[in-house]
Symmetry: C2
Subunit: 452 residues, 2 copies
Amino acid sequence: MAKISSTVFSLRHFLVLSLALNVSLILRIVYEGEEGHDNSCLKNETGNSISRADFDTKTHNILKSRVVMSSTLSSGNSTCKYHTGSRNKVINLDHGDPTVYERFWRQRGDKSTIIISGWQSMSYFSDVSNICWFLETEFAKEVVRLHTLVGNAVTEGRHIVVGTGSSQLFLAALYALSPQHSPQPINVVCASPYYSSYPSMTDYLKSGLYKWGGNADSYEKEGPYIEVVTSPNNPDGHVRRSKVNRSEGLLLHDLAYYWPQYTPISSPADYDLTLFTLSKTTGHAGMRIGWALVKDKEVAKKMTKFIELNTIGVSKDSQLRAAKVLRAVSDSCEEENSQEGESFFKFSHNLMANRWKQLREVVDSSQLFSLPQFSPAFCNFFNQVVEPQPAFVWLKCEGNVEDCEKFLRAHNIITRSGKHFGVSRKYVRISLLDTDENFNQFVDRLSTIQSL
Amino acid sequence: MAKISSTVFSLRHFLVLSLALNVSLILRIVYEGEEGHDNSCLKNETGNSISRADFDTKTHNILKSRVVMSSTLSSGNSTCKYHTGSRNKVINLDHGDPTVYERFWRQRGDKSTIIISGWQSMSYFSDVSNICWFLETEFAKEVVRLHTLVGNAVTEGRHIVVGTGSSQLFLAALYALSPQHSPQPINVVCASPYYSSYPSMTDYLKSGLYKWGGNADSYEKEGPYIEVVTSPNNPDGHVRRSKVNRSEGLLLHDLAYYWPQYTPISSPADYDLTLFTLSKTTGHAGMRIGWALVKDKEVAKKMTKFIELNTIGVSKDSQLRAAKVLRAVSDSCEEENSQEGESFFKFSHNLMANRWKQLREVVDSSQLFSLPQFSPAFCNFFNQVVEPQPAFVWLKCEGNVEDCEKFLRAHNIITRSGKHFGVSRKYVRISLLDTDENFNQFVDRLSTIQSL
């Protein structure tokens, strides 16, 4: 019995593998033809070649993955060569480094290039008439324009607070929402699986203002609390609403992935406090730019105060560049309407659709893994029914595999274990925002894993 | 008796006023001729015109000064005009916004201009082989080059950690130096007068790791502590050494002002942990770039960890721009040696020397105020004996004036009271890094204050 199913499995597997390889090779030829080079080859501490690491704030994993990489690569291998299907190459998809979008920005050429003279933007101040006095007016304007165009958030009646990535804004929001004179820190909760960095970000300074309160599903304490609602959720991609839903709850909506390439845009988000980040919107993680839409003036003031005390404002250079990039995104949408080219969201939506298609084909042909199922829904932006296609794969190891991260690591695929997200080790989170190179190698590798 | 001294005072005063006005007018003609415009005219929340505010992290003062400005300016004054000597114009020198250096960077033209394409610097990562994985290699290189050239810090055997301004690095250092499992937070101390933001930055999150312990001069508790040594000191400009000097002390050196324009460079700083910031070095406060030189590898790792959890790295755009600006500074020094132009430090040193000269003339002619006295010393960078000329004026109101800030505010000069620096209200801190416009008006105004 075992022998028969193994034979059947192998035949199906080879078909899928062959298809995946074809797609992979075609994409690679196209990609390399356009790029002319590959810069995803870096060196680790020991001088060994490693693939570009990926990131998403579960930061101690960087060092962990470095150790793994140096131990799995042969020492003295000083050139970086990729061999599709080579099982020795470590594929690191632990972090969510959104390098997948680089191709779009290369294609756009100079439209998003920024030039800053040495004498520009020297002052701490951007606009002293604004509560968020370090907010660049151009950036704020483009944020409003893009939200209006995409229809994913209400900006009217909101204060914009810019942050050094949405991480800083998450902390600023905790500071602003916490009672300042309470004898006990307020609990911060989120339904599991929750973003793996929330607990450590909340607790690393042992603040007397707030502390991590765990899974919102099982939270039953009395009194005020802060609930983080991540929608679509990181890691599992599902659309979410508040879970605790009691009168003294303060809600913090992390909408980093509420963009058309990841999920159908059903209606403009209309919450008290929402966070967005350029990293996941356009792929510019290195800029460290996020923004919050804040209904309450006092909360916006306190968030601004946090950023003053934390970093005295936010890089003007990056805000100006972010304005240019957001403008290019909005322009690409408007140009597309006049038949002049592909919009950023069409490009990124197609790209994610292709990746999810390839991935589902491989996973569906395997009995070792399973993926979450999503319901298609009408997207107001694309004006049609589309499927959710999250930035992360929330993969479950079926059968007897109890530690999915360990299992995949043995196959030189680095992922992030479910344990970091407050759930079982049978799950792992895998980035789908990495380079074509790494994604294709990942799909190839996954398709070769036939049994325990 | 009172009448006679008043007459003598008035004659001396008019001579100084006349001289100050001449210098002011000449500078303004030169300045406006070069600039062709003035952008220091902003509007406050009520729509009134206000001068460009200045900043230095005593951040609640922004709002305070706004209130003052809107109450002292007539409502509906929608155009921004400066009248030298007009007592109605509010001069805000509370913050240390280093806009004074803008002129140098304009003169340098394209040499410090940066161009960044839309597809560049997208990844979170800069150099995964470095402990500080988000540190841009070019920036690190220019930091080492400039320190070597200026001779103000040892970089050999140091890890460079880049931060979103030195504020973030101050917090990162507290996190890294604090014992992680101590039942009590470690005390953070600094001799008064200390930088007004240290207490609030240390305590705003009510951390269980560290807390503000007050004046280092009177600190006598047993056990470990962190002592911040700011040299030259903000606010008073004096060169400093550790005060507590006990075995369990951990030292954090804030050397933001240890540059040739402010103080003689006596020897390369050779401490365990030193902080620098671009804001005070080159005047680029809006970039939010600082760096730490860290001897201990584990401390550098923990500081990096703090920045990961706080902001997941530091703007790459600003690091790249900072590299370009630092390169321009170093180039200007090397070009000067070959007689090709004025170096940044010569420009800024001359500028500060002129300001201090003007200021001392006015203050010396008054019996209402006094300034700190500094001893000239040999500067290894300029290769000659020079006088200290701090970025801030630490002004004392003599005689019966007990609240110097209040006294000057009545003359529409906004300063920062000594009480924020842990000392008497007879002192105020005044920024000397503001625009020529504001500085000249300040000197004019000060010279008109003859009596209580």
